[in-house]
Amino acid sequence: MKKILEKILKNYYENEGNVISILQDIEENFGYIPEEAINWFSKKLDIPASRFFGTATFYSQFHLKPKGKNILTVCRGTACHVKGSERLINRILMELDIPPEEDTSEDGKFTVERVACIGTCSMAPVVVINGRVLNKVTLDKLFKEIEKLKKRSKYVRG
């Protein structure tokens, strides 16, 4: 971890970066913002940790908890809403046994995120599954994809 942090710090100095770009680098490297990382930077740069946390919680891009193995991002933009994304997300959460206030399943296999529009509105409703855009999503299509992921994660243990 330390090595990665050193590298991010170097980038920061080289690119006249700021708190947001540090956080973006941390998120990219770890998939979330570990508390230790923030404390480390806070000491190195003499910026209060609260400033990092304040910024991290302000922007939806940052996560303070690790995410699941598979990430399903449901678009909650207007076009997708009009085409029924609210029902989709409720049904997915049920299917994956994720309680309403949480976003990751207990076994850590699935995280369901919401995003406000990914700019593919003419293909609404849209769900992004591990980076791949699935367009004109129906429950049927979605169940098939989830089934595939469930099967796969059975073989890849962990």
Partner: protein, 593 residues
């Protein structure tokens, strides 16, 4: 030269990519390098990825040009590629049944492409393609033969108004930017595209990145600035990549950096990636974000033109605003002005989405009627249902009811009916959409995105949302509508920034035109559009049910009982009204009421 005879252009705009454009490209590549095809023939063909062509509903769109003759195919997938190559490219006999038909022609008819003139025509990653299409001529002209005030005058003449939402005259903004003297000044391009449900700016940044950069260079010259930023939202990684590539190409060619076009003028652009916050689209919040802080708006004691980024004079414009600039410089202010209405010049890009047949990206002259957009270009409503309303301006805008379809689309007339032009999102709602639910949707969004700095917005929107929640849950009270109106008008009047000031708009405009729907929810405990979960029930129509068991298997809470081949039943006590059974039943045997 190789690749001159046969051009294959594949739409790789947001829609094209989502529809599998990459696979189509690979399929063409595979076919063209196929051993059975003569090697020299393969060399005559060139493959181009192009930006959004607009009609995303029919993606992937593929254009084949043989000796200047253009043919457009719609709904292309990799399986269709071998036949196109064999019959059309090798056999000179186009595959008639896949050629884009009437919809595509109608879709194009009333559009005028200024901002989007390159989108769908040129390869956005190829700088030479942009230059061949006339690119950087305007920047060259501005830098070599125009003075800053001449540029400002041309932009003023054009009547161009900011495309980011507020519609402030761009020429005036630049004039102020020029007048204020300072050693450091900034030019910022706002590519945050916060309206959830719109993709105009994404399409421009990805489909024609050089036009944005060229517009910024001209602005820099006009306002005597030497440093620019492009703020791109986090959800648009491809836009970031394409813009960065374009910037690097410009640096290499000497179109950015020191001594541009040997005129002694310096200008640099950096990209800044947003981190996901709607309020950062607001100009002052955006600048705080670039400074690395929480993106909170600041009261406008000074105009940004005087004290903006790092307290230095800053001119900030929207992506589409900048993309218009090169065309204005080349064709003159009068030309642009005459395209639009008396009060706003030019064209406007809209993303036409929701329950409409030809959803996609369109560009129309300002002053066109909403009816022409929905019916002539958009092809009307999907599935023969009837139009209820058109939502414009996103979370800051309002809903225009079907009865007002003949209004002209421009800043003033949309404001008059209680909506706004906004940045160009246009979402079509039909009879299956509940207006109260729609209002709640927008308020949920603005409430969550409120930065929390001022009280009316932080707490007021929360209270409004609670009322909407109880109405849609069937617990609405007498007087709730009036309470919403009252709260809304106060939030509008007292919030700090545009987010709060406009947040009540979706609620107020739906109350104005669809009060009866609110009343049905409150008084009759009914959702006329059958959307609000607590106000509907699902049951099985015995006569229609074949007992196939599809619904039983799909039900997440085991609320459906029955034996095979006999009509099933839903237990209303257990049913959570997720609607899955309704979706999976092939016999229309589920009744939603």
């Amino acid at each position: 030269m190789s690749g001159d005879n046969i051009k294959i252009k594949i739409c790789m705009g947001p829609g094209g990519i989502a529809a599998g454009g990459n696979d189509v490209i690979e399929a063409f590549k595979g076919q063209l390098t196929n051993q059975r095809i003569n090697a020299s023939f393969g060399e005559q063909c060139s493959l181009h990825q192009v930006g959004c062509r607009g009609l995303c509903a029919k993606d992937v769109l593929v254009e084949i040009i043989i000796d200047g003759k253009e043919t457009i195919y719609e709904n292309i997938n990799p399986e269709k590629v071998p036949r196109i190559v064999k019959e059309h490219i090798l056999g000179d006999n186009p595959v008639k049944e896949w050629i884009a038909g009437e919809d595509y022609d109608n879709f194009k008819k009333k559009q005028i492409k200024v901002v989007l003139s390159h989108c769908g025509e040129i390869d956005p990653e190829d700088m030479n393609a942009y230059i061949e299409a006339g690119g950087y001529k305007a920047a060259h002209k501005a830098l070599t033969s125009m003075s800053p005030s001449e540029i400002v005058e041309t932009v003023k003449t054009s009547n161009l108004r900011g495309r980011g939402g507020a519609g402030f005259p761009t020429g005036l903004k630049w004039e102020l930017g020029l007048r204020i003297k300072s050693d450091v000044k900034y030019v910022i391009c706002n590519g945050d595209e916060g309206d959830p449900g719109a993709f105009m700016d994404r399409s421009v940044m990805e489909g024609d990145p050089h036009s944005v950069i060229e517009g910024m260079i001209i602005c820099a010259k006009a306002t005597e600035s030497h440093k620019g930023y492009i703020y791109v939202r986090a959800e648009y990684p491809l836009a970031v990549k394409r813009l960065q590539q374009a910037i690097d190409q410009c640096l290499q060619k000497g179109y950015l950096g020191k001594n541009i076009f040997d005129t002694g003028f310096d200008f640099d652009i950096r990209i800044f990636q947003g981190a996901g916050a709607f309020v950062c689209g607001e100009a002052t919040a955006l600048m705080r974000s670039i400074e690395g802080k929480r993106g909170m708006p600041t009261p406008k004691l000074w105009r940004s033109a005087e004290k903006g980024l790092w307290e230095k004079p800053t001119v900030l414009n929207n992506v589409e605003t900048f993309a218009n600039i090169p065309k204005i410089i080349l064709n003159g202010g009068d030309w642009f002005r005459n395209l639009g209405t008396e009060r706003s010049g030019g064209t406007k890009v809209f993303s036409l989405t929701g329950n409409i047949k030809n959803s996609g990206l369109i560009e129309v002259p300002l002053g066109i009627s909403l009816r022409e957009i929905i019916y002539d270009i958009g092809g009307g409503i999907e599935g023969g249902r009837s139009l209820k309303a058109v939502q414009t301006g996103g979370p800051s805008g309002g809903c225009i009811p079907a009865a007002l379809l003949d209004i002209e689309v421009d800043y003033e007339s949309l404001a008059k009916v209680g909506s706004i032009m906004g940045s160009g999102g246009m979402v079509v709602l039909d009879e299956t959409n509940c207006m109260v639910n729609t209002a709640k949707f927008f308020l949920e969004f603005t409430q969550a995105e409120s930065c929390g700095k001022c009280t009316p917005c932080r707490i007021g929107t929360k209270r409004m949302l609670e009322i909407l929640e109880r109405i849609t849950n069937g617990n609405g009270k007498e007087g709730d509508i009036e309470l919403l109106e009252d709260l809304g008008s106060h939030i509008r009047a007292t919030s700090l920034c545009g987010l709060g000031m406009t947040a009540p708009n979706p609620v107020l405009s739906t109350i104005r035109y669809f009060r009866d729907e609110y009343e049905a929810h409150i008084k009759d405990r009914k959702c006329p559009a059958l959307v609000c979960r607590n106000l509907i029930t699902y049951s099985i129509i015995e006569e229609e049910c074949t007992g196939c068991g599809a619904c039983k298997r799909a039900c997440p809470v085991d609320s459906i009982r029955g034996v095979r081949k006999k009509p099933h039943k839903i237990d209303p006590e257990l049913c959570v009204k997720c609607g899955t059974c309704f979706d999976v039943c092939k016999f229309k045997a589920i009744l939603k009421a």
